[in-house]
Assembly symmetry: C2
Homo-oligomer: 352 residues x 2
C-alpha cells in the first residue's frame, strides 16, 4: 500500500501554462478557430499531461491483462472460462482483434497473466504476474482478499514501470477475462448507485435468461459482500478482478509518469472508476476511446465526466477501442505539430 | 447529361451474397459474435460494394475540390474569399489539416480548382477543372446555370475516372470554398424542409450578428430562386456550388466503379444529399465519417439514413473527417482479413 501511496504522491495536476500556449499555437494554424474540435482538445490535454510543447507519440503501448473470475461458476458468461487462457495464446500468436487494431495504429501490445486459472506455457511475449488462479466466486464471498487486490495493483504498476523503460508515450488499457463484465457491473453499481438492471448488459452474448441470471448474481454479490464505496480497495477486492486491479495500477503509474491513458471499454472503465475514486485528479490523464454497447459503460463515463471519442457499438474489450482512440490521439498531435500557420502559408485570417 | 445518365446506369445494388458470406466469416473470428459492432458492419458493406471477399484498401484517395461562392458578397463568412485560393496553395504545399490527416491514414489528396475566383499558378499537384470564377451571388439569382452545374458534375466524374486509372480502393470527399456552408444550408433546406434557422450554423466562425445575416441571406436565396426539390439539378444549380456539384460527380462515379465513398462533413453531406435525390441506391455506397458541429449536417444524415462514425465536433471540411473515417474503414477490413478464427486459434466457441 505504501508503494501505491508513493505513486499517487507523484501525480500532479496537468500543466495549465502549456495548455494555454498550445491553444495559441492551434489558433495560428491554417483552419478556422477551434474547427478541429475534439482533436484540438486532445492535443491540448496531451501537451498538458506530458508537459511537452511538442509531444511525440512514437511509443504507443496497450496493456492487455488477463484473469479469470470465480463468478463464472454462476453461469454469467456465454463462453466457457477456458477461453481466457485460450485467448492469451491467441494474443501471443497475434491473431486477436487487439493484435490487428494495435498494429493498425502502430502500437505494441503487452500481454500479461495476472490471474488466469491455468498455468500458461512460458513465452517471451507473455508477462507472468499471476496473483492467483482466478478470483473466488463473489456471489458467495469476497472475490479477492484485500492483500490480493493490493498485490494486483502493484503488479500493474510493475508492468507499467518495466515497459516504461523501453519507452512509452501513450498507453491504452485492455483486458481479457471471461466473466469480467459481471465484475465491472458490480463495481459500477457500488460506486454510482445506478441500478444493477440499468448497468448490466449481455457481455459476450447472453440471451434473455442468461441476462436475468447475471443481474441476480450481481445483486447477490453486492448483498453478500456489502462493498463500501467510500473505500475503493474494499470494492475492488470484494467484487473486482485481478485484471481490473492491474489496470488500476497501470493507470495510476501512467499518470505518475505524465503519460496519457486511453481508456478502452466497460471493464477498463470500471478500472478507471476505481482510480477516480482513489484519486480524482487522474481523470485529467484519461481519454475515453469509445462508448461500449454495455449500458454500464455510459454510466461510468458520465460519472467520471469523460466524453467518448467513438461510437462504434464495440463490446470486445482487449483494448480494441483503446487502440482506435490512440490512433485519434496520434492524429491530434500531428495536427498540432505538422500543420502550417496562417503566416507561414500566407493565408488571411478571420476578418469579422 | 447523357454522360451522367450513363454513370448512373452503371450503379448496381451492393452484393447481398458477399455480405452474407462476410457475416459468416466475421462470426468465425476469435471474438464474441458482433462484438466489433460497426467495424463489422463496415467490413460487410465494403465487401458488398466492391464485390470482393477480401477487398484491399491500399489506394485511399481524398478529393478536395475548391471553388468560390458569389454569395460571399452578402457577408456570410468570417473569412475573406481570397482564403479559398490561399488554401489551395496550402493544400499543394502540404500544410493544411487535410494533408496531415490524409498522411496519417495513408491517403493521397487530389486537389482540384473547379471554380476558384482567381487564376491559380499551374502546379503538377493541382488539377484545373475550372467551370467559372466562382458562382454568382445566389441571393440575387441562380448561383450557376443548369449547364454549369452539369459541367461541374462532369468535371467530378472526370477527376474520379482519371485518378481511378492510378488505383482507387476507397474515396473520401473534401472541399474548400469560403461561403460554402451557406450554399450547403440552402441545399439542405430545399430537400429536407427543415427550417433555415435549424440548419444554419456559424460556418468558419460567425458571431451572432453574422449568423442572423446568414440565415436571412439563405432565406432570400431560396425565395429568389425557388429551387424545385423534385429536380436535384435545379436545386444544385440555383443554390449549390461548383465544388458541391463536383463532389456529386465524384460520388456517382465512385459508386459506378464499386468504390466505397466516405462522406466528410456538412458540405460533402450536401453533395451526398443531392446524389441521394438523383439516385437513392447510392446511399449503400456511402459511409458517414463524422457528425459535424453544423446543425444542418445532422439533418442531412438523418434524411439519408446514415449514422456517423465519429463525434469529434469537427467543422473544418477539406475532407478531414473523411480521412479519419477512411482510417476506420481500413481497420474494419483488417479485422476481417487478419484476425484468427476460433478453429485456427483453438479457442472454444459460445456454449449458451
Amino acid at each position: 500500500m505504501e508503494r501505491i501511496k508513493n505513486v499517487i504522491k507523484d501525480i500532479t495536476g496537468i500543466d495549465p501554462i502549456i495548455i494555454k500556449n498550445t491553444q495559441v499555437r492551434l489558433d495560428n494554424l491554417t483552419k478556422p478557430l477551434g474547427s478541429l474540435g475534439r482533436l484540438e482538445e486532445m492535443a491540448k490535454q496531451i501537451c498538458g499531461i506530458t508537459g511537452k510543447a511538442n509531444p511525440s507519440l512514437m511509443n504507443k503501448v496497450i496493456f492487455t491483462l488477463a484473469a479469470d473470475h470465480g463468478v463464472t461458476d454462476e453461469g454469467v458468461s456465454a463462453y466457457p472460462k477456458e477461453v481466457t487462457a485460450q485467448m492469451v495464446y491467441n494474443f501471443i500468436a497475434g491473431g486477436a482483434g487487439i493484435n490487428v487494431l494495435a498494429k493498425h495504429v502502430g502500437a505494441r501490445v503487452v500481454v500479461a497473466d495476472i490471474g488466469v486459472a491455468a498455468d500458461l506455457k512460458p513465452d517471451s511475449k507473455l508477462r507472468i504476474k499471476k496473483i492467483n488462479y482466478g478470483t473466488k466466486n463473489m456471489a458467495k464471498g469476497p472475490a479477492m482478499t484485500r492483500d490480493e487486490a493490493i498485490k494486483a495493483v502493484h503488479a500493474g504498476i510493475d508492468l507499467f514501470e518495466e515497459e516504461f523503460r523501453r519507452g512509452i508515450d501513450i498507453v491504452g488499457t485492455g483486458e481479457m477475462g471471461i466473466g469480467n463484465t459481471t465484475s465491472a457491473s458490480a463495481i459500477t453499481a457500488s460506486f454510482t448507485g445506478a441500478s444493477v438492471e440499468e448497468i448490466t448488459g449481455r457481455g459476450a452474448g447472453l440471451d434473455d435468461r442468461g441476462l436475468k441470471n447475471k443481474v441476480e448474481v450481481i445483486k447477490r454479490s453486492l448483498s453478500v459482500n456489502k462493498p463500501d464505496p467510500a473505500d475503493p480497495f474494499d470494492v475492488l477486492s470484494k467484487v473486482g478482478g485481478f485484471e481490473i486491479a492491474g489496470l488500476v495500477g497501470i493507470i495510476l503509474a501512467a499518470a505518475s509518469k505524465k503519460i496519457p491513458v486511453v481508456i478502452d471499454g466497460f471493464i477498463s472503465g470500471a478500472a478507471a472508476l476505481v482510480v477516480f475514486k482513489i484519486e480524482p485528479r487522474v481523470k485529467e490523464y484519461m481519454i475515453a476511446a469509445h462508448k461500449s454497447q454495455e449500458g454500464g459503460h455510459k454510466i461510468i463515463l458520465e460519472h467520471i465526466g469523460l466524453r467518448p471519442l467513438l461510437d462504434l457499438d464495440l463490446r470486445l474489450g482487449e483494448g480494441t477501442g483503446g487502440a482506435l482512440g490512440i490512433g485519434l490521439a496520434d492524429a491530434a498531435i500531428k495536427i498540432l505539430t505538422q500543420m502550417a500557420t496562417f503566416k507561414s502559408a500566407n493565408v488571411s485570417e478571420k476578418n469579422i
